[in-house]
Amino acid sequence: MRLRVEVNGKVFELSLQRHGNGSDYTYVLEGAENKAEPASVVEVSPGVFSVLLGTRSFTAYLSKDRERLEVSVGSERHWVSLSDRRDRRAGAQANAASGPAEVRSQMPGKIIKFLVEPGSAVKAGQGLLVVEAMKMQNEMKSPKDGVVAKIQGYEGATVNAGETLVVIE
């Protein structure tokens, strides 16, 4: 099995070979320092994997959300997406940052204030609007440099999770 793996935005090429029907594997992870190494990977309960790299022991907890996996190892949480090595979509996704970006509401809430107007030039990280949920106000920021192409909704409007509020081009 050869896979293209993206962890927290970093890309690795993984080649993984299983030996027999047990938990033993050999892997090469390009992008990291690893050479061909043995590993033992076993799913101990649904979504919980015990991984031995040589003698080092790790327990990985996994949870899937659409295309991405949330993986927690020790005290770290990682966001992982996997694709076949020659998957075109993977390349397309990776380049998504160059197209228009939609800023969506994260949870049901209320629009308190827009901080920009259509046509405003914005920088990555600049505040676009303030949304309130669970009695907390949160500023939503621009994911990239660009121009505000579109604003949807109005101050005081109730929004649902996933609704597009601002489009940056």
Partner: protein
């Protein structure tokens, strides 16, 4: 003793009270809003009654509905937990008049101590220290000089008309006073339209220290020592401990602050559990702030160190029994620390992170206690406080307790939503925290400073391998992934991509 008690709360505190009731052989009645049908407190109780729709105002704050649930199930008493109706004198009075025992102080005590100014008045009457100063605006420099001299430098100038740091000036000695008043007044004028300022004693690097009291309805009242709750974010406590590290360097602290707390509580004929909150400076001088006339979130740390079960005592006292322990019986052994595990994202301005707990593993083993209100598969609702659980640990020394907390946090696994577990892990390794060198601003400074550590290479490799095996298995078997985000409102895509 009661045979059935209603718990007018939800989440971890409702579970805590239900556990105490079960231990005492008393039947428990949970109440729940429509979104809490699958709540852990509903599962743990002997009975459960729906009291209305999701918004608190229509359910957990709905006095009529809760009293009706008590009548319907034949509950003789109501435990209010904390928050919601716990400090509502009208509710306490309605219970009493309806023939249902309110497990807490008298409604009169709640009413008197309910406002900060009322509580401050009581404290002044009994001669307890409060933060010195004047609530009225200063009229001229001469008056300001006299007041500042009386309360002692450093002092703090504050705008009468507003807060948020505008019109605020610290004054270290008299030579700075005049220009500081001018600056502060000008700033207040432009910010709030009024240049009025007043003076207060400046407490540098203040610590939040509070005293647990416990009294019966027969006039016996004791204190159970202090807790330190200086680790706060926006006046919200997140780490608490017992004893205060300050009581190591200031051995007289516990007795003095304890006696002061008792003096204030006695003035309002206080009974049941209550907490008196103080500000303390680094030398251990303390000033009364306010009183919480209920059980505190952080009561477990006092329970660890004194060995007393506060909820059990609350119920016993409400049943009219006498406090069989005396002040001189109370012993404080070792040290307990508590972390409040919240569904919030420290990386994203601590925004709440409700949603489905797709994986949830609590720590266990020696010296570890989890007071939880959630379980794997539960969807944390949007409508309420995002507290998932309280993790508390005990150790014979503060050092051991902190080491144990680090170990327990390492075992804690929550997936599907974001929590503050990682932040606590870093805080438990912070030199200032470990040294007990605390103040109410420490956490904010800590958050501002800390940088994300690079993950360990092997850990990353393990992550990749686990993910690959998982993915491969899902694809080849056509097996449904472990847990989809059904019911999750948090959009990882948006969060990771757009909010950095």
């Amino acid at each position: 003793m009661f045979t059935k008690v209603l718990v007018a709360n939800r989440g971890e505190i409702a579970v805590r009270v239900i556990r105490a009731l079960r231990e005492m052989g008393i039947a428990s009645v949970a109440v729940f809003s429509e979104v809490d049908r699958a709540g852990l407190h509903v599962q743990m109780a002997d009975e459960a009654v729906c009291i209305g729709p999701a918004p608190s105002s229509q359910s957990y704050l709905n006095i009529g509905s809760i009293l009706e649930a008590a009548r319907r199930t034949g509950a003789q008493a109501i435990h209010p937990g904390y928050g919601f109706l716990s400090e509502n004198a009208v509710f306490a009075k309605a219970c009493t008049e309806g023939g249902i025992k309110f497990i807490g102080p008298s409604w009169q005590a709640i009413e008197t101590m309910g406002s900060k100014t009322g509580a401050r008045r009581v404290a002044l009457e009994v001669g307890a220290p409060v933060v010195p100063g004047t609530d009225q605006a200063i009229s001229d420099l001469a008056e300001a000089r006299a007041i500042a001299a009386a309360i002692g430098y450093p002092v703090l100038l504050k705008a009468s008309a507003g807060g948020g740091g505008k019109g605020m000036r610290a004054v270290r000695d008299e030579s700075e006073l005049e220009s500081a008043i001018r600056d502060a007044s000008n700033e207040a004028q432009s910010a709030f339209g009024s240049g009025e300022v007043y003076l207060e004693k400046l407490i540098e690097r203040p610590r939040h220290i509070e005293v647990q009291v416990l009294g019966d309805e027969h006039g016996n009242l004791i204190h159970l020592g202090e807790r330190e709750c200086s680790i706060q974010r926006r006046h919200q406590k997140v780490v608490e401990e017992c004893p205060s590290p300050l009581s190591r360097t200031t051995p007289r602290l516990r007795q003095e602050i304890g006696e002061t707390a008792l003096k204030i509580a006695r003035a309002v004929n206080y009974y049941n559990a209550g907490t008196l909150e103080f500000l303390a400076d680094q030398s251990g001088r303390f000033y009364f702030l306010e009183m919480n006339t209920r059980l505190q979130v952080e009561h477990p740390v006092t329970e660890w160190v004194t060995g007393l079960d506060l909820v059990r005592w609350q119920i016993t006292i409400a049943a009219g029994e006498r406090l069989t322990i005396k002040q001189e019986d109370i012993q404080w052994q070792g040290c307990a620390v508590e972390c409040r595990i919240y569904a919030e994202d420290p990386q994203n301005n601590f925004f709440p992170s409700p949603g489905k707990l797709t994986q949830y593993v609590e720590p266990a083993g020696p010296g570890v206690r989890v007071d939880g209100g959630v379980y794997s598969g539960w969807t944390v609702p949007l409508e309420y406080d995002p507290l998932l659980a309280k993790l508390s640990v005990w150790g014979l020394t503060r050092e051991i307790a902190i080491e144990r907390m680090r170990r327990a946090l390492w075992e804690y696994q929550v997936l599907g939503i974001t929590t503050n577990v990682r932040m606590f892990q870093q805080l438990m390794a912070d030199g200032r925290f470990v040294a007990g060198d605390l103040d109410t601003g420490l956490l904010q400074r800590f958050i501002a400073e800390k940088a994300e550590a690079e993950p360990d290479g092997a850990e990353l490799t393990a992550t990749v391998l686990a993910a690959a095996v998982f993915e491969n298995r899902s694809r080849s078997n056509g097996v449904k992934p472990v847990d989809t985000r059904t019911g999750t409102v948090w959009q990882i895509q948006g969060r990771r991509g757009l909010l950095r």
